[in-house]
């Protein structure tokens, strides 16, 4: 095998994989943009949809651009990725829950009402 082909087999990465990844990413980006500008969805439905699209694009790029799952370190790359995602989830979700809870409990009653009127939510 030529060195390049051998590399491709081992490490991943080829014109095809980058191009496919690129097109998928463009598609997902424009889809999310249109969802917002065309006001297809609103409120929490919109949030879940565009975050969902972002997560799909994340995996697409992880696979097509970063070649996750291939290469000599693929097992440990994956382990550290998963550990990171777990920690990020705990810290971010935990912080949002805590801060939301604190903001609610530590805001004086009048402010709560005022904010409810102004922003439509706390």
């Amino acid at each position: 095998m030529s060195e390049v082909a051998a590399y491709r087999a081992k490490e991943g990465g080829s014109m095809r994989s980058y191009t496919v990844g690129f097109i998928i990413s463009i598609g997902l980006t424009i889809a999310a943009y249109l969802l917002v500008t065309q006001k297809v969805l609103s409120g929490w439905g919109l949030v879940y949809a565009i975050i969902g699209l972002a997560v799909v694009q994340l995996f697409a790029q992880l696979f097509f651009f970063l070649h996750l799952g291939r290469g000599p370190n693929r097992k440990w790359n994956f382990v550290t990725l998963i550990l990171m995602l777990i920690i990020v989830f705990i810290v971010v979700a935990g912080s949002l829950w805590i801060m939301h809870n604190l903001n609610y409990h530590m805001t004086p009653q009048q402010m709560n009402q005022y904010m409810r009127q102004q922003d439509g939510g706390i």
Binding site: W76, L83, M84, I86, I87, I90, V91, G94, S95, W97, I98, M99, N101, L102, N103, Y104, H105, M106
Partner: protein, 662 residues
């Protein structure tokens, strides 16, 4: 003249210390440094210092430097402790003690900051560097120059903290600098900025080390050493490195946000303009809680090595020990709200974190039982490391129970920020972290220096620390339950607290006596070293690979990288009477020394000083200096040197001859 003054930013003659205590501290610091410079010049050792220490990339040397700096900082943090005890024992009723309020606040802020970041982390990284490559049968860490840079960044942070004693002031906002107190409005001086930037610089070093040791253990274990055959100390380093990797970025962000508020007028934590001070508390503890487990897990690892060796038994329950380490590592990220139960979250949030906090006590309990089971029916040798361990088991268990109490939010509401809390965390850190690392230093000292430390003095020291600790912190548990809050610089005589504070003061003096014995121990052991030098490679009858090398360890660690087949690899080698390699030596390639780490840290120090004092030119120079140093280093071509096989053979033969002689 005006433009020159403005070039200096906020720096002017008033930055020098005003009160006697600070002046005394500053003077002793400056005199100490002058003494070092004089000695180096007199003995013509500058070139030696540069060649052997300032530019080294040998983790053994870097480890020694970490520990030396950390022990020096222990003296400074201890001096702070003595001052605080003196203040609280005497500042009653009409009397106002030895320190002014402002000085007292800087003292307790410096005490906490120094002890956690520069003593605890320093001792920890010191042992990582000394022991991990040897225990996994490797010559080096994964990224030697990064490793050196980490040390020098730690030193730069330490230098900034100490500089605040001479030029300017330190933070008076506690070791965690909560806003709004730490915001510009209530802390307009440079103290908090010193705090921010010394920690930011040292923190980057820590993060880099976490990555370094993680990759080292994952990728550089010797042949046959599967993860489940590693010594438990290495498992503790692996799990700790994961915690460091994922916790320290949070600290980086939080310090940056506070700095942006103070320096660029942003509004992350300023209530009037849409900031949220509670977010600071949330983020800093999201880092802060994993941090305390980062400090203690390697100490647990040290205890595992010590208990097995001095009980002449393999560690009981290896798998559950590994499981416990992993569980603690993950769980440590799920409990952080227990540091602010009283900040106002609802019962649901408090309950969740209270339960998680109680859960995390379980794996720690598993470890305690496993150490005790290891001792059971072992042939125990009560060398001084074991004395440290026994003190730990007794005290840590009691202090841990206090922690589980406080995990219950209604109880915490009564004792939050009281001396009960202070006693709890000091029990954890002193009997866990400090005893562990001191025991580790005693245990591994002969491996790196060829002679043991004086055991008798070591035992005196250990006992003084244990008894002193009980006297110093026992009263604090009681005082806390009596309602005494932390960080008090004065209280009314009617409280009836003074006697307990006096007992606590005596306790700290006894700890001080213990420190004195340790200093004496080092002095005496080094003085007597020619008589004590026995080069014994295995003075404690160890079980793990580090004992398979000569003492002191040659620069390349192992002439031939070992191949192992089970746990306690060295023990197995001894049982099968595996002969040490005496032929088939090969050339060994090692990384060359480089000033890159020193330069990066030096420029970082300059940049930090520049931001603190608003000397923008210095910031720019420092920043560009860091960048240039990195780029220039990356152009270095021949970064390794070779030790020819013949020289390896000679070193090995000489080492063996020394051993049999002594």
């Amino acid at each position: 003249m005006n433009s020159f003054a403005s070039l200096l930013g906020k720096l002017d003659i008033h930055a020098l210390p005003h009160d006697k205590i600070t002046q005394g501290g500053a003077a002793s610091l400056v005199l100490g440094m002058v003494a070092v410079v004089v000695l180096l010049t007199y003995f013509k050792r500058w070139k030696w210092l540069y060649r052997e220490w300032l530019t080294t990339v040998d983790p053994k040397k870097i480890g020694i430097m970490y520990i030396v700096v950390a022990l020096l900082m222990l003296l400074r943090g201890g001096a702070d402790a003595l001052m605080m005890r003196a203040q609280q024992a005497t500042s009653v009723g009409a009397a106002h003690g030895v320190l002014s309020s402002d000085t007292f606040q800087q003292v307790f802020s410096a005490h906490g900051t120094i002890m956690i970041f520069f003593v605890g982390m320093g001792l920890m990284f010191g042992l990582f560097n000394l022991i991990v490559p040897l225990q996994i049968g490797s010559r080096d860490v994964a990224f030697p120059v990064l490793n050196a840079t980490s040390f020098w960044l730690y030193a730069a942070g330490m230098a900034l903290v100490n500089l605040s004693l001479v030029v300017g002031e330190f933070s008076a906002a506690g070791w965690l600098a909560y806003p709004p107190l730490s915001e510009l409005k209530y802390s307009p001086g440079v103290g908090v900025d010193y705090w921010i930037w010394s920690l930011q610089i040292a923190g980057i070093g820590s993060l880099m080390s976490g990555i370094n040791f993680f990759v080292t253990i994952v990728k550089m274990r010797c042949k046959g050493m599967d993860l489940m055959k590693m010594p438990l100390f290495c498992w503790s380093v692996l799990t700790t490195s994961v915690m460091i990797m994922f916790a320290f970025p949070i600290l980086t962000v939080t310090l940056t946000l506070l700095a942006l508020d103070r320096t660029l007028g942003m509004h992350f934590f300023t209530a009037g303009a849409g900031g949220n001070a509670m977010m600071y508390v949330n983020l800093i503890w999201a880092w802060g809680h994993p941090e305390v487990y980062i400090l203690v897990l390697p100490a647990f690892g040290v205890y595992s090595e010590i208990v097995a060796t001095f009980s002449r038994k393999s560690l009981f329950g290896y798998k559950s020990m590994v499981g416990a380490l992993a569980a603690i590592a993950i769980l440590s990220f799920t409990v952080w709200l227990h540091h602010f139960f009283t900040m106002g979250a609802g019962a649901d949030v408090n309950a969740f974190f209270g339960i998680m906090t109680m859960l995390i006590a379980v794996p720690t309990g598993v470890k305690i039982f496993n150490w005790l089971f290891t001792m059971y029916q072992g042939r125990i040798h009560f060398a001084s490391p074991m004395i440290w361990f026994m003190g730990f088991v007794f005290l840590f268990t009691l202090g841990g129970v206090a922690g589980v109490m406080m995990a219950v939010p209604p109880i915490d509401f009564q004792v939050h920020n009281s001396l009960f809390l202070v006693a709890h965390f000091h029990t954890m850190i002193i009997s866990g972290v400090i005893f562990g690392y001191l025991a580790g230093i005693t245990y591994w000292f002969p491996k790196f220096f060829g002679f043991k430390l004086n055991e008798r003095l070591g035992k005196y020291a250990a006992w003084c620390w244990i008894v002193g600790f009980i006297l110093a912190f026992g009263p604090l548990y009681i005082l806390g339950l009596m309602g005494a809050t932390r960080r008090l610089d004065h209280y009314s005589a009617a409280m009836g607290w003074q006697q307990l504070f006096i007992v606590a003061g005596i306790g700290v003096l006894i700890i001080g006596l213990g420190v004195f014995f340790q200093l004496l121990q080092f002095g005496v052991s080094i003085w007597q070293r020619k008589a004590r030098l026995d080069y014994a490679p295995d003075p404690w009858r160890g079980r793990t690979l580090e004992w398979a090398t000569p003492s002191p360890v040659p620069v390349y660690n192992f002439a031939k990288l070992p191949e192992v087949s089970g746990r306690d690899a060295f023990w197995a080698m001894k049982q099968t009477k595996q002969a040490a390699a005496d032929k088939d030596f090969m050339d060994i390639r090692l990384p060359k020394n480089t000033p890159a780490g020193l330069l990066v840290a030096g420029f970082a120090f300059a940049a930090g000083f520049g931001i603190i004092w608003h000397i923008w030119a210095l910031l720019v120079i420092g920043g560009l200096g860091v960048l240039s140093s990195i780029i220039i280093r990356s152009t270095a071509e021949r970064t390794e040197y070779t030790i020819p096989a013949k020289q390896v053979e000679r070193i090995e033969t000489e080492a063996r001859a020394r051993e049999s002689y002594a």
